[in-house]
Amino acid sequence: MKAIEAANLRKTYPGGVRALDGLSLAVEAGTIFGLLGPNGAGKSTTVKILTTLSRPDSGEARVAGLDVIRNAERVRRSIGVVGQKHGLDPEATGRENLEMQAEIHGLTGAARRERVEQLLERFGLAEAAGRIAKTYSGGMQRRLDLALGLVHRPKVLFLDEPTTGLDPEARVELWREIERLAGEEEMTILLTTHYLEEADRLTSQLAIVDRGRIVAEGSPDELKRELRGDTVQVELLESTNGDASAALSQLAGVSELAIDGRLLRARVDNGAAAIPSLITALERAGLRVASATIARPSLDDVYLQYAGRSFQQADTNTKEVAA
């Protein structure tokens, strides 16, 4: 069963910025689905449409089996959303934040009290429950955000760049929590991120978004497998002056050679088989090798392949445009 379906979503913002250009996706119930892409790729707009916050110019989407435009009200009862910005009320205490959210979802009296205390406990906020949320640390605020999105036990949870701005420790902690939600509570989670590492670790299904459309889709491993071969990195003892590229250009099966001082990077069909001949060729040209490593393709390579530019490059470009 599909928990989220979107077909041909298009959206252009006033001012002519095209955010979505025919984006389609389908998310199997009970899985963690990742939308990966640089800033401005259209991830957040997709989440806004799926969570009824924004309307597409054209296209259709269903969440938990309900049309997001015609059945917006019922969609809102079935989803939990943790947005990119904090949704919490900084002037209210953690407990008050949760109480209000519970009331909105129709939980009152003892049921409300029970659920609020349960969430405070579970997210390690029980001690800080009576403190104003603006005094919380970044990690605590994120946990409160997540708790707010879970008050009504949603079927589908949307996490829009949930770990942006968190320190590494808080990030890993949140990752564990997300894995637990998908595992124990059988929730469907749609997560957007521009951290490759995050997508790799959390998601079972991944779509790469670029310029408002999905350019590749599959499990992280499938996507990596589609890339031919491995990346080999060789470190030389001294920096090379063109000798290396001359030496390696004659080797069969070596492509995308890049040299940066003492560092060589190349793509080869089979890393383990290529390394001995690579080293031999280099030493024959009088270049001594300090180390050699093989890397399976990373999601960054996948991104490069499908979006035609490296992830960081795309990210920087978008930021420049935005600025």
Partner: protein, 256 residues
């Protein structure tokens, strides 16, 4: 029921946030006192102008200050802009909250502040010797029409906030609108002493509707027909502005 519960939740949130700012509480309680005493002193001699029939100026001024306090509700949209900027509004909009509650809860908070401020002004003015002929009923009607006016300003402010989403825009509009609306009314000056064109313009000014109705209710010979029509105009305008504030979220959704 749901509508009421949601409205109360939104109001509670704003009231709590304000009460947690001692500076805000202090300023809101002192501001009406300063206004009444300052305007009372500045325009004291107005009562000596031939043709002024309003009794002592402070008696005349009190309903005017209550109406001017109601106009301060024009600033409540700032809270909406803050909510929009920090994501709180988006979280509410993806929840099944009744849309009308977002504006009405904020309106309820500003009306509550207004009622407290009005009671301070009226109490102070009684203390310095003013006399309100229709007693509690007259004062209640005065506060009632001021509350209607405050609710109108609050709704318009919230609607503009949702559409503009910029502090500067709202500040500009409020600053530009409130002073002329005050002076194109009988808030500070008796109608018969206003220049002709201002008297004409005042007919279309909701601030003047509230000032006329409030003053008539508090004064010696209340004109209940006038009070009822002015209150009716205000009620209609409130319906329209509350609808505007709630509908503004549709435009927000299109451009979000």
């Amino acid at each position: 029921m749901t509508a009421l519960r949601h409205t109360w939740q939104v109001a509670l949130r704003y009231i709590r946030a304000l009460l947690r700012q001692p500076a805000w509480v202090g300023i809101s309680l002192t501001q009406p006192v300063i206004w009444l005493l300052l305007f009372g002193a500045l325009f004291k001699r107005t009562a000596d102008i031939p043709g002024f029939t309003g009794g002592s100026y402070i008696e005349f001024l009190t309903p005017g200050v209550v109406v001017m306090l109601a106009m301060s509700s024009a600033w409540v949209g700032m809270g909406f802009i803050e909510d929009i900027n920090r994501g709180t509004m988006d979280r509410l909009l993806v929840s099944p909250i009744w849309r009308g509650a977002l504006n009405l809860g904020s309106v309820a908070q500003s009306v509550l502040s207004l009622v407290i401020q009005s009671l301070i002004v009226i109490g102070l003015s009684l203390a310095v010797g003013a006399h309100f002929d229709n007693g509690i009923a007259g004062v209640a009607v005065l506060i009632g029409v001021a509350a209607l006016l405050g609710a109108i300003f609050a709704s318009l402010s919230n609607g503009i906030a949702v559409l503009a989403r910029q502090r500067e825009t709202l500040i500009g509009i409020v600053t530009m609108a409130t002073l002329p609306l005050t002076f194109l009314s009988t808030a500070l000056m008796q109608q018969s002493l206003l220049p002709g064109w201002i008297r004409w313009a005042a007919k279309f000014n909701p601030v003047n509707w509230a000032a006329e109705a409030g003053r008539s209710a508090a004064g010696p010979d209340a004109d209940w027909g006038l009070i009822a029509t002015r209150a009716g105009f205000l009620a209609l305008l409130l319906l329209a502005s509350a609808a505007f504030a709630t509908r503004a979220f549709n435009a927000y959704q299109r451009s979000a």
